[in-house]
Subunit: 82 residues, 2 copies
């Protein structure tokens, strides 16, 4: 069995309103050293397969077709045996 | 400057309806080797500080008070210089 650990993040040029809201809340709570917050998705997918090459291709298709918005987001992933 | 890389994940015993929906969608798209999907938050916070010990304490307070729901979620993080 393989596990894909996938990070889907907003492109650096894209505003992150949720992250901005968290930064403001943290300042209000007194955490004044907080400079910036960026919130992303972390997705783990378990595959009934041991073929890393084929599974990596599937993960790319999955990210392109479902998990990431190519206009605003980037992704990267790693595959591990589990 | 320090960056905290924080993972906030549902406890393994807690149902993840969003992950279940993604798994179902992937099966419908023909990705039949997908066994399970778990969706989590990945948060990066930049601090105007170089004191790792003090910043680690702040990150714990931030997770406990704002980012993670202690009833259903766990978190872990690492601190890096940037």
């Amino acid at each position: 069995m393989l596990i894909a650990k996938i990070f889907v993040q907003l492109k650096p040029s894209v505003l992150d309103p949720q992250g901005k809201a968290v930064t403001n809340s943290l300042h209000n709570l007194g955490f004044n050293q907080v400079h910036e917050t960026r919130i992303s998705k972390y997705i783990e997918i378990r595959f009934d397969s041991n073929d890393k090459t084929e599974t990596a291709k599937q993960v790319e298709k999955i990210c392109d077709s479902l998990l990431a918005n190519p206009n605003t987001e980037t992704y990267h992933f790693e595959l591990q045996e589990c």
